[in-house]
Symmetry: C2
Subunit: 397 residues, 2 copies
């Protein structure tokens, strides 16, 4: 039984804000500044270069990877940290494609985050003629998993609608036709009960600045199934993925297992903040978080629909089909979101018309949900977004 | 006239250590913890997602890139931060190769850092048949720049010997046969007077945790010459290199100029430490640093050779031919370096027999150099490394 009041107390949440954007950037864990300061002063400052051994920096990508592995159902020793999610998408997709040399189609969907599609485009462009990135509607993915498909590249939750793909069913379907799967967990790691091992996922990648609260630009992770870990060829073959990096050999030899997915020098400072964020996760488990998340999203849908009839729910009503966000379509969504933000309800807007709200049980409770819905009711009741101040278009909201 | 005593006072240098490994990991700038704390609490903590605009996070990769650009002779607006050096090598090399579609040879040398060679190997492996990574001796690079060569991939300073390539001459030679150049500035940014613009370099990349003192795993940078910046195709085509990332379009369109070399979400916390480190660079200029560096390396060579006749200088004696490190060959170099480290002189060892010492005028002065040489004289006079304690092989030194 998780004490979510206790997890909430572990974050800095500015007075007067209801922060429903933890699905985009999680808030500051209260212990993170002190942890960072200790790594900077006691490790970097005092140990200098010897920190790589004495402070264990060199092993941190794996030890932290294992902590995330526990949240996504990975086998120990099969997750490693580093780079950004876009880079990890590229690595996973390149490795998977190389394992299906006779096929040329990467299957994805329009609900995938654009960066995944862009990275795939860049990769396929380099691989030469004949490769195809086939992008279908989210609901049609299963029907398009055919024997032409080398790899499916799917973000488990649609960043706009919050619709959750069925990882187990799609992975099974992919394997039944000889395809491999790359799962992007950006919106599910720390949000739903992910089970990469149980679902038989081949590769999985994710970021840590959303539900995991690692801070702006926190490092990404990659999972490679144990059955592939010693075979997957890292296209991004950097020295820290070498079997013997400190031998400084002239040719690349991949390290055994997941370690080969490391590339360059690990971001030790960024990892320090992430470690403090992961400490909060020790107070709970994903089953409890998922149960609470579904309560919060159901409550929000109910409370908002009662107050704002102009909004059209974009997120599936069936709990099993949604992640941990609720999205509404509204043609003046950008301006309306500005008005909400000005009144302390922080969600975000995704073109063309999605108002998006993330629910993160570690620090959002029923009181926040009801209060946010009340404020939405006021904003919509008075059409506050008609005020010109809310109509100017910003870059990130 | 730089006051190097004042720059030295801006770093935390542990009592009793002479740190001659700033060429591997620079020391902690005293202002870095406070800067980091401010970014964590006042920006991440208070602004949350709005920090991307309000705190200027989104533009930081360019604004910091420009600060580094000034140290390497880049035109303003043509350097951007992100990822690791290995990733930036891959990006630059892929873009350069795509601009020479009729050629198949990448020329590098045995003094290049292995990760550059490994990344090239991975890239060429993906591009398919016919590509060749040709690796020659450092002294033979010029002779091997032929019309077969698509791109030269050269680290300006040899990480083992400290030998400095002639960027101007090699770039000119490359251009004379229609080849492009990718320069790795890992050991020259902040160490020598680099002039990427004046030398006509096509691409340059570098890390910031060595001479620039950005911290363990600090982000890398990439420079693309203005004449290529709007043509270079980013193989790693992530959403923050898109012309309109927040339109969330389904297909990739590269941003104008250097911005296209951005990939994923920038590492805001790591960049905070780097900013504090770059503040120290405002107190000097590269001409002063280079002059002082050459004084320090000349003094060290002289003082050590007078005391340790067993050591064989691996670094060129001619000032114009060396970077900011001094290396000696010694068959028991690993054990001898352990003995030195135990006595407070921190250098490092590179297989098979290189004892390496970095000289960083921002925090190393003549007194340090003489004292380090005296301690080396004692260690070699008494053969202290014969003690078994120094003979065990560590992972990083």
């Amino acid at each position: 039984m998780t004490d979510f009041a206790a997890t909430k107390a572990r974050f800095h949440l500015p007075e007067g804000l209801i922060y429903l954007d933890g699905n985009s950037l999680g808030p500051l864990p209260l212990d993170a500044p002190a942890k960072m300061d200790a790594v900077m002063r006691a490790e970097w400052g005092e140990m200098l270069i010897t920190g790589w051994n004495r402070a264990g920096w060199m092993d941190r990508p794996q030890s932290i990877g294992d902590r995330i592995g526990r949240l996504i159902g990975a086998e120990p020793g099969h997750v490693v940290m580093g780079d950004t999610l876009s880079i990890k998408v590229y690595q996973a997709l390149a490795a998977a494609l190389e394992m299906r040399p006779d096929r040329r189609v990467v299957l994805s969907d329009t609900g995938n985050f654009p960066s995944d599609l862009y990275m795939a485009e860049g990769l396929l462009g380099m691989l030469g003629e004949g490769y195809e990135l086939r992008v279908v509607a989210p609901e049609e993915v299963a029907d398009h998993i055919t024997e032409e498909v080398a790899v499916t590249l799917i973000t488990e939750v649609d960043y706009r609608t919050g619709r959750l793909h069925d990882m187990r069913a799609l992975t099974k379907k992919a394997h039944s036709v000889g395809a491999l799967t790359v799962w992007d967990l950006a919106h599910t790691a720390g949000a739903t009960e992910v089970d990469v091992s149980g679902c038989g996922a081949d590769f999985a990648v994710g970021c840590t600045y959303k539900y995991l609260n690692g801070g702006p630009g926190a490092p990404a992770f990659i999972y490679v199934a144990p059955r592939h870990a010693d075979r997957a060829r890292p296209a991004l073959s950097g020295w820290l993925g070498h079997a013997a990096p400190f031998e400084f050999e002239q040719s690349y030899r991949p390290a055994p297992g997941i370690e080969r997915m490391r590339v360059g020098t690990p971001p030790i400072l960024a990892l320090a903040a992430l470690e403090a964020a992961l400490d909060v996760w020790e107070m709970t488990d994903m089953a409890a978080v998922r149960a609470k998340s579904l309560e919060l999203t159901a409550l929000f849908i109910e409370e908002v629909e009662a107050r704002c009839p102009e909004l059209v729910l974009a997120t599936p009503r069936a709990p099993a089909e949604r992640g941990s966000q609720v999205s509404f379509r509204f043609h003046e969504g950008f301006a309306a979101m500005q008005a909400l933000i000005a009144r302390g309800v922080i969600g975000d807007f995704r073109a063309p018309d999605i108002m998006r709200f993330g629910f993160t049980p570690l620090f959002i409770d029923e009181g926040d949900v009801v209060r946010a819905a009340e404020i939405m009711g006021e904003v919509f009741g008075e059409r506050l977004w008609d005020d010109a101040a809310y109509r100017k278009r910003g870059r990130v909201t």
